[in-house]
């Protein structure tokens, strides 16, 4: 499973970087940056789903 960030929708609210801190870090403006590629490791499945669910701009998606 891969994590897809829709950059036209992302507003840098920072919810996903809190919920998925293993995969995402904030840039200087609060937008998420992938740490090590977009592949979601199986143990982070739940956290990734939660981040997708909570994104206020619906800018996160999981792609299989």
């Amino acid at each position: 499973m891969r994590l897809h960030i829709d950059w036209t929708a992302c507003d840098g609210r920072g919810v996903c970087t809190e919920l998925l801190t293993e995969m995402l870090t904030e840039d200087d403006w609060g937008f998420p940056v992938l740490r090590n590629g977009d592949t979601v490791p199986p143990p982070l499945d739940g956290a990734a789903r939660r981040a997708v669910d909570r994104c206020p701009m619906l800018a996160l998606r999981l792609v299989t």
Partner: protein, 196 residues
């Protein structure tokens, strides 16, 4: 038993109003895009959702108990169609209207990944109509209107929401408030102030 339904209806109504006040304040807090009320951003968002779902539970209890209450004599139609009731139709209708609005708000929120952000956000603005309607319903109808404690609760709720709204409208409520100054080169900061 008949009295129990009436007491439960009153209590659950007040609890719903308190929860909805919390939901509105947290919703405004989550819109700010920064940690609010001493909670991380995801916690504000989750608490906003869970408090809203809990409010729905109490509201369903409120409506169901009144539906079976022998005094209220609520018809099934009155739970959906506002301003058609026999007893204080306007005040009761406000309750029905608030309930309909809340169902729309929660329903679209649960389906927002299918509806898309724009539709969901448009419907979600109805929250600013739903909350005052619920407040007026509580003040105008029922056994407890005019009691000091219901006034105290209502005024406390108004204070919380008005304070949250004032914060929402204030210049402090900009995008990226805590972040922009942190990592931007000093010579760019004046330009940044214009953007904010």
């Amino acid at each position: 038993m008949t009295d129990a339904l009436w007491y439960f209806a009153r209590g659950s109504g007040v609890v719903s109003l308190l929860l909805l006040t919390v939901v509105v304040a947290l919703g405004i807090g989550s819109r700010s895009g920064r940690p609010a009320f001493g909670l991380p951003r995801f916690a504000v968002s989750l608490l906003h959702r869970n408090a809203a779902l809990l409010a729905i539970v109490f509201l369903v209890g409120h409506v169901l108990s009144l539906l079976f209450d022998p005094y209220a004599q609520l018809r099934l139609l009155d739970t959906v169609l506002p301003f058609a009731g026999h007893y204080r139709p306007v005040w009761q209708g406000l309750g029905t209207l608030g309930f309909d609005l809340l169902v729309a708000l929660v329903g679209t929120s649960l389906l927002r990944h299918r509806l898309g952000a724009r539709v969901w956000r448009t419907v979600h603005w109805l929250a600013y109509l739903c909350w005052p309607v619920a407040l007026l319903h509580g003040l105008g109808t029922g056994t407890d209107n005019g009691t000091w404690w219901l006034w105290a609760i209502s005024i406390a709720c108004v204070v919380v929401v008005v304070a949250a709204l004032a914060w929402r409208i204030s210049p402090n409520f900009s995008r990226f408030p805590a972040r922009a100054d942190r990592a931007v080169a000093p010579r760019l900061r004046p330009h940044l102030e214009e953007v904010k």
